[in-house]
Symmetry: C2
Subunit: 350 residues, 2 copies
Amino acid sequence: MNLKIAVLPGDGIGPEVILQAKKALYAIGEVYNHEFVFEEALMGAIAIDKTGNPLPEQTLNLCLNTDAVLFGAIGDPKYDNNPNAKVRPEQGLLKLRKELGLFANIRPIKPYKSLLDASPLKREIIEGADFTIFRELTGGAYFGAKTLNEEGTHASDLCEYSEEEITRIAHLAFKSAQNRRKKLTMVDKANVLETSRLWRKVVQKVSENYPDVALDFLFVDNAAMQIILNPRQFDVILTENLFGDILSDEASVITGSIGLLASASLGEKNALFEPIHGSYPQAKGKNIANPIASILSAAMLLEHFGLFKEANVIYKAIEKAIEYKVVTVDLKPDSKFGTNEVGEFVSNFI
Amino acid sequence: MNLKIAVLPGDGIGPEVILQAKKALYAIGEVYNHEFVFEEALMGAIAIDKTGNPLPEQTLNLCLNTDAVLFGAIGDPKYDNNPNAKVRPEQGLLKLRKELGLFANIRPIKPYKSLLDASPLKREIIEGADFTIFRELTGGAYFGAKTLNEEGTHASDLCEYSEEEITRIAHLAFKSAQNRRKKLTMVDKANVLETSRLWRKVVQKVSENYPDVALDFLFVDNAAMQIILNPRQFDVILTENLFGDILSDEASVITGSIGLLASASLGEKNALFEPIHGSYPQAKGKNIANPIASILSAAMLLEHFGLFKEANVIYKAIEKAIEYKVVTVDLKPDSKFGTNEVGEFVSNFI
Ligand SMILES: CC(C)[C@H](C(=O)O)[C@@H](O)C(=O)O
Ligand SMILES: CC(C)[C@H](C(=O)O)[C@@H](O)C(=O)O
């Protein structure tokens, strides 16, 4: 197979971990005879620094015209604590999601057997947990109108959803549930929010097409609790953008490290793959960032193109790295292995 | 001291647990010579059933003209799964918060020594955790304009904040931090939301009055993770309404049961005290609901009126109940004690 892949390393540890993902893909390409052509482009704080624009036209065009996007991380503290910054790195990522129509962000959560003791949660709580979060990615308060009055004393964010936006991701989530344990949990705040009530109504309607999937509802406050109390109860979680952002980071604790979680963002035509961790600027350039999430994103990319065998080889390699404790310090405080060594182990294993 | 207390038992297990809180207050009154006069009123689903209104005029008037409100729980599944319900129990609580101007919801999180093993989190993670969440309670998406178009295909919720709304709760939170470990963590989503950026700006400004308090910022997705990874890092958490709703329920897992957490909601003139658990309809009438959160709300009420010694007696009694394992099934699955027995133990101990 020939794939043209746009690579956006982004900020902080992005470039370091993306490098390891590329190494894994190169190795797969060699062994299984695929041609992966990578083209790098700027996004995020680095793009602002170099061009003034967090998502330069050139980057967007590249992404629109490749088979898939591999993305590192975004964000820089110099923008975070400046509420008056006019341009922010995150705008680049949000615009990219919107322009590529990446409406579904999919985040699988499943602890590795050999890491069951690495989580702050007890082993007996997380053993056997295995669920996937479907987060809506191009709507909600992320994209609604924002206002700030002239005096800078009053601000607003509008959370909006349409039936159509809910329907399309609901179908994906139900289909995924059909291939899994046939349970879908809709998370919302329908006792307070109008948008949540629309979600509930639309999801109920979509569910009629999937009579084999059991549908239930949880309020987001309760869901935030249930994910920790009893993660095994979940199969597929479906939720709106901001709730999904919060819950998926929270759920990462089940696996022992956010450095282990990857995600796929899918649209009608485009697809982007990224680790769910952020740019982790404190770790930049220190060879301590965990590359596994980024390498896993590459595996999700392969799966997306039907290369299941190849993806599996990567999954196996990562399992081995974890089993042999070839991992970074987030998973083993006294580890002598860094970003490079873990990535090297994985690509050598392929 | 003479206190006139409005009692709103509400729905589900509300009446059962409120009864135990009243018993504790009666016992305190007798021993320490205070006169607590209780007046009951309707709110929630039960108020809809009886009057068509989740917050009848009479209830509101009573609450406006008493020293404090003791509230049980609200909510009924028959409204939750009906997105078209015109009147919902929660509207009663939200209206009450607004009318009484209860802008600050304060939720202390601290595990009991003898319950360190009851949490899904490991003992070494939660041991020593002790923080308080200040949740803004009368603004944000809870109270902004809501729309649903005629065809029922498009909905919106407006999240709004003003400098004034942020300033008043920020002062309370900083003052609390001054009396604690002098650290305040502002939780927001300033990389995406305009309201969050206003929060950040205003809180930074308010912080100038509290140079002895260290201020830091966390994005809400990261905060949802950090609360589980390392709860000891927090002292005072300050956040907006919806984030506070989610994070405080999540944080309840640290204590082993949401049935152990109480909250105070304060305004300029009024105060309301409530357990943070919901109406738990499945448990209604079964004498299995944990009354401790409700009794703790009563203790917070006493503290609010400067009756620290009396509040302490309740805290001690609850500690004893937990130590002697006179607790409900949420804390000890094979417990033979119910709501009544736990309440009885506490009031006898006083
Ligand atoms: C960087 C930020 C804008 C982003 C988000 O909130 O969506 C990130 O947290 C994520 O989850 O991908
Ligand atoms: C019942 C509901 C409206 C309420 C809220 O969301 O504020 C509850 O969850 C709470 O936290 O008090």
